[in-house]
Symmetry: C2
Subunit: 232 residues, 2 copies
């Protein structure tokens, strides 16, 4: 049950608020760039607790279309009402993601991550990478292997010097993990994994981004194929 949204949308109270804001925009009662109703007022009008209103506002703020000022109020982004409605609509429709999309996205981000790492990694990064790989090898036959692999990839993301990509991987990787422990994927370690990690390290050290990217693709190919056939 992977989520990219902070809130569980089974709780309809929050989406009720979002829907109401959507309607207010639709009716022209809430102009883009203007202050939106006070939390208490909205809560009373919709007969929901103020907590839910605050949750809705927080989610909108997360997506950058609302800015809340303490003891003053909240304002909605000054973009056209059609765009606003589209954004809110998208936010409400955010639910659980399918496994394949998660894996596909991870593949993309990991490939870009390692490509950037080739350009930007310094000696310290490469040292950390080698250490993470050693740690991975030491735990190769233990259940910790999966987590050590995760750490290995996080070190690469760190070396990419792009905190946005790093955070995005941070978000989706645990979701993927929880998915394939239930599907009993990766229960037995493959010896090829050892070499694949080493190839990636060598490519980064040699600053060969093409080699690093293709090595990363190969490394994640089994997961990708697995996700693809799960989809069907």
């Amino acid at each position: 049950m992977p989520m990219l949204s902070k809130f569980n949308h089974k709780e309809n109270a929050t989406v009720k608020v979002l829907k109401h804001l959507y309607d207010l925009i639709n009716e022209g009662k809430l102009k883009p760039g203007s202050k939106l109703p006070a939390e208490r007022k909205l809560a009373e009008e919709l007969c929901v607790g103020r907590t839910h209103v605050r949750n809705a506002f927080a989610e909108l703020e997360f997506y950058g279309i609302v800015k809340t000022f303490p003891q003053s109020g909240s304002v909605i982004a000054a973009i056209h009402h059609n765009a606003l409605q589209g954004l809110i609509s998208d936010i409400m429709s955010i639910e659980n993601y399918d496994f394949f999309s998660l894996v596909e996205t991870r593949l993309i981000l990991e490939m870009e991550s390692v490509r950037l790492a080739c350009e930007r990694a310094d000696e310290k990064d490469i040292e950390a990478l080698k250490l993470a790989h050693k740690d991975y090898l030491d735990n190769f036959h233990s259940p910790r292997r999966v987590e050590k692999d995760m750490i290995f990839h996080r070190v690469i993301a760190q070396a990419s010097r792009n905190d946005v990509i790093k955070s995005m991987l941070l978000i989706i990787t645990p979701d993927i993990l929880s998915h394939y422990v239930t599907k009993d994927f990766c229960s037995t370690p493959l010896p090829t994994d050892k070499h694949e990690h080493q190839i990636i390290i060598d490519a980064i050290e040699a600053r060969s981004s093409s080699k690093a990217v293709s090595a990363m693709r190969l490394h994640l190919d089994r997961l990708y194929t697995f996700a693809k056939q799960q989809k069907i």
Copy 2:
């Protein structure tokens, strides 16, 4: 002030809870996979309101490392304590992202988005794309142009059939927008933008992913260059 984290980290009460959990794991008092302390208990121990504890738990749940069960308690992910600490540490360190990383990530996601759209878009998607472009052209000399452009790109993301990428773009695009309205970027429309959109549409319709990707790169090149020189 772009954030990828739902919570404002200026409020130190929440990070105080995260730090405490980190310490508990460090001291071995909180074992991976076990139940973590009750919200009330933590709140009292740390002399903070339960709201802050709940915020911390919600953030950890967002990143998939805790799961909360109503009227029962919350459990922490059953991964090795080193990995857990790394995740919590990363979460706490999430702050504002630099503009360049945001733009770089957007470029990556947009290119992949349009590549997938070439493979997966159906007639309905292409129709919506043409409509969005027409809408863009109609507002080319109005301040709405920026939002219409945003919608155009969202239609592409929709056609990519990858909701994870779509959501990620949804998160970072408003941040980028707010950045370059303050920097007075894109204040005057460039005629080339019109043709660039059209080239992308044609490439998608012709299922030519290489053309579509390079067209997208070209389309975002001005923004990318702008972000690059802002970085210095």
